[in-house]
Symmetry: C2
Amino acid sequence: MIVKTKKILINSELECASGEALENFELMTDFYGELNKKKDNAVLVCHAFSGSHHAAGKRDGNIGWWDEFIGPDKTIDTNRFYVVSVNNLGSCFGSSGPLSKDKNGERFNNNFPQLEVIDWVESQKMLADKLGIKKWHLVIGGSLGGMQSLQWAVSYPKMVKKVGILAAAAKTSSQNIALNEVEREVIRKDSDFHDGKYLEFNKSPVKGLKAARMLGHITYLSAKNMDQRFGRKLQNTDSKIAEDIDFEIENYLQYKGGKFAESFDANSYILLTKVMDKFDIAHGYDDSLESALENIRAEVLVVSFTSDWMFPTSNGKEICLASIKANKKCSYIELEGEHGHDSFLYPNEDYQNAIKNFIESR
Amino acid sequence: MIVKTKKILINSELECASGEALENFELMTDFYGELNKKKDNAVLVCHAFSGSHHAAGKRDGNIGWWDEFIGPDKTIDTNRFYVVSVNNLGSCFGSSGPLSKDKNGERFNNNFPQLEVIDWVESQKMLADKLGIKKWHLVIGGSLGGMQSLQWAVSYPKMVKKVGILAAAAKTSSQNIALNEVEREVIRKDSDFHDGKYLEFNKSPVKGLKAARMLGHITYLSAKNMDQRFGRKLQNTDSKIAEDIDFEIENYLQYKGGKFAESFDANSYILLTKVMDKFDIAHGYDDSLESALENIRAEVLVVSFTSDWMFPTSNGKEICLASIKANKKCSYIELEGEHGHDSFLYPNEDYQNAIKNFIESR
């Protein structure tokens, strides 16, 4: 598989939904496979909250987040398709975001414009123009990436042939927002946060980031999966990684949270949770989901998982029912998933067949 | 209604399940109604995690947590029954706990013995002996109070005529423990926590406590209830109580968390979440719930709420099925509840009738 990673400068202004603007911006992007002559085999893969452009292949010891789905003869067959995977604006893996510098050469820190999902679509539209891609064969993603895919199909209907919306929703719920607010709260109140200017003090609010991720991680798993995997098993005394731990699940979360806090930027964390909170595809359509989806020209695939409590199956059904009311071609698939919300990341025969058939159907 | 509040000294040693001991201890206790001559009309009401002895009536502007259920002609009719409500050991509303002094006159702080639910039952058994109550007509409680009620029926079968277990479980799940660990983590990592010795510095880790309660509060509500009550409504700019708030639900949690942090003790918070984590009634019975429940002589009422995701209905069913297998008299009632886990606190005709009929039946 041909793999390329490029940081691409888009030298045009991006006017954000908030009214703020970026004079120009960079998008860190992975490319898997080859664009054909007709340029009609491009697939845009959209990552979730804390993901990155690195969707496939091994790099610096890390495996891409959808490696089992992208590659030669895999679900998205790179012998046939040209996969584009963009690190979202505002994130911290190479695209413009809080870690970047503004036009005066100052680091943005907490002053990066607050983005919305539609801004990501705009930025990727500008990238598609630069790449000469007039129509995506497929735009697909899970969670926040699924919301992004849906926004693509609504905002640029002529540019999306098929859209795959996995473990996502047409809008975030009050509970989603509430949990995100707790995560932001623990970051902001970390004494090393310094009102978002922590890098000027050579600090990072790692304690807050760690706790935020511990909570986030619980929302990505299911209660059943946690009971099966950890249950009430006690942690070995030798391998406790923090004081006051009794159970394995505590140790696991401490470990996962700590690892994450070493590599993620706190201002990005806050910004990206706000992007999620603000997502409501029906906003601007008199709160009518059906009206919002009327724009769509793409074939729609919606997948929900019964073990997902972050975006439960009612969210997926809602999108599909509104699509059908709006006279769109939509398939809805409900799978149990063993991993709660995270199920969209894991290989499973039914799941992969559904996506593969959807992509490869005429 | 006759109401009395007393701090009762139990001047005997309490040997805790952990092996640690308290030389003596105090229990802050409310009494509603009158004990009859036969002393057979006593009802023990057990509070949940952050509750107190103050279950009924208005005091200092606060209404008791089960005021709609306890009183003359109410669900638990104080014309007939004598209600005893004890602040649990380790809590911070007057009973011995981290705020108390040890035998050397030093404040316990984080050195109060780590308790288990069975220790609460032991302490209340000693109280019952002191009060001359040989058998409770009923022991009842919700959430952690329901676990305590179950433990009473198992530990002192001859002392419990009826037991009511509301919105509770026979053991905490991996997800329960995980969420509690996040709550503890944000308290411990507050820079004002000082390894639990914060009072020696005239501090309290209010930032951590606030965030912990914000998370706890989300677990007490249901996603549906939050959507109905707050949905995606934006907060008025005038009444934002913290920076960076967009939605009403964020403001609500900030407010609730902040209020709680003013009145609760952080060491108690940590200790009490650990009590919850450690609860598994089948522990010591080869992990067989049926074996554990074989001791019971009481009639059992179990109530679960379909909107409760902290202790879902499967938890209630599990207790009732095991009771029936163990040849006990058990009724199980499943109600929707509008308030998620907190539904056990709210008046509802079916719910109150079920409890009233259970109490008053021969």
